[in-house]
């Protein structure tokens, strides 16, 4: 049976990304496997430590860099994470210095906010209403 257990976000600097995704966003490091000049580096939600892993993928392929930059310029988030209380997360992350391109706003049946992960991407937070 084929399962979905991994997603990824491309990052300029894996160590910087690990710091942001753990210390700031609150994920936990799951795997750290040396692979040549880079690593297979994943994080998980503390509430789902055996759940889906997020791969902090090194930006090592130039055509992919163009795609990432184009998304960023258009304000399009690379991916979206779920939160229970978006206002609370917005306040918490803002106080940690995180920059938001979109403050919490309603978008139909959800509220969204979009932050800069400092590693080349916008990331969306979403709270279902």
């Amino acid at each position: 049976m084929i399962r979905i257990n991994l997603t990824s976000v491309p990052v300029e600097d894996q160590e910087k990304a690990l710091d942001f995704y753990t210390r700031v966003l609150g994920f936990l490091k799951k795997r750290d496997v040396p692979l040549g000049e880079h690593k297979w580096l994943t994080v998980v939600s503390p509430e789902e430590q055996s759940g889906v892993e997020l791969l902090l993928e090194p930006m090592a392929f130039e055509p992919a860099r163009l795609y990432q930059q184009s998304l960023k310029e258009a304000g399009i988030p690379w991916t979206s994470f779920a939160v229970d209380d978006i206002e609370k997360e917005y306040q918490r992350l803002s106080s940690l210095g995180v920059k938001f391109s979109i403050a919490p706003r309603e978008a139909g049946p959800v509220m969204i906010a979009v932050l800069d992960d400092t590693c080349g991407n916008y990331i969306q937070l979403m709270q279902e209403l």
Partner: protein, 157 residues
């Protein structure tokens, strides 16, 4: 002095918040923001329909551990059963039944992590049979409740 300092702090904080708000509203909108505005302008739901359906979700949040019938949910949303299911599905992409199932399994995971027995969790979240609960849990998470329980014990950070 304290009330004066507090008042001064509040004024500075409010001024900064207003400045951020003005700055953000003066920035030209990105392609993404324009698309968001366009898409959500075109969605055919009235604001009161969102409120009504959210009421049914609040009902599920409160009464998930009891027997919940579709009639109860439609009543909580002040809609007919037909309209309720149709609108819920168009709004959230899931039927109310699937949403309630996922809600119950999410609660179950939390309760297992808290240390309740599988049987306790089963009845706590509104199932009446442990084998049925276990089968649904496995279908939703990929783990039996017991395997999830063992996994959590060994994963504690």
């Amino acid at each position: 002095m304290r009330p004066l300092l507090q008042a001064l702090y509040d004024t500075v904080r409010l001024t900064c918040l207003i400045a951020v708000d003005v700055h953000m509203s003066k920035k030209p909108k990105t392609y993404f923001e324009n698309e968001l505005d366009r898409i959500y302008r075109e969605i055919p739901f009235r604001p009161e329909q969102y409120v009504q359906v959210r009421q049914s979700k609040a009902f599920m949040e409160e009464f998930y551990s009891d027997r919940v019938e579709l009639n109860d949910l439609a009543k909580a949303a002040f809609m007919s059963r037909f309209h309720y299911v149709r609108i819920f599905q168009r709004m959230y992409g899931l039927t109310p039944r699937v949403y309630l199932r996922d809600l119950r399994i999410s609660k179950a995971k939390g309760l297992i992590r808290k240390g309740l027995s599988i049987t306790q969790v089963c009845f706590e979240i509104g199932y009446e049979s442990v084998p049925t609960f276990s089968a649904v849990f496995k279908k939703c998470t990929g783990y039996t409740p017991r395997a999830y329980q063992q996994l959590h014990k060994s994963n504690l950070e």
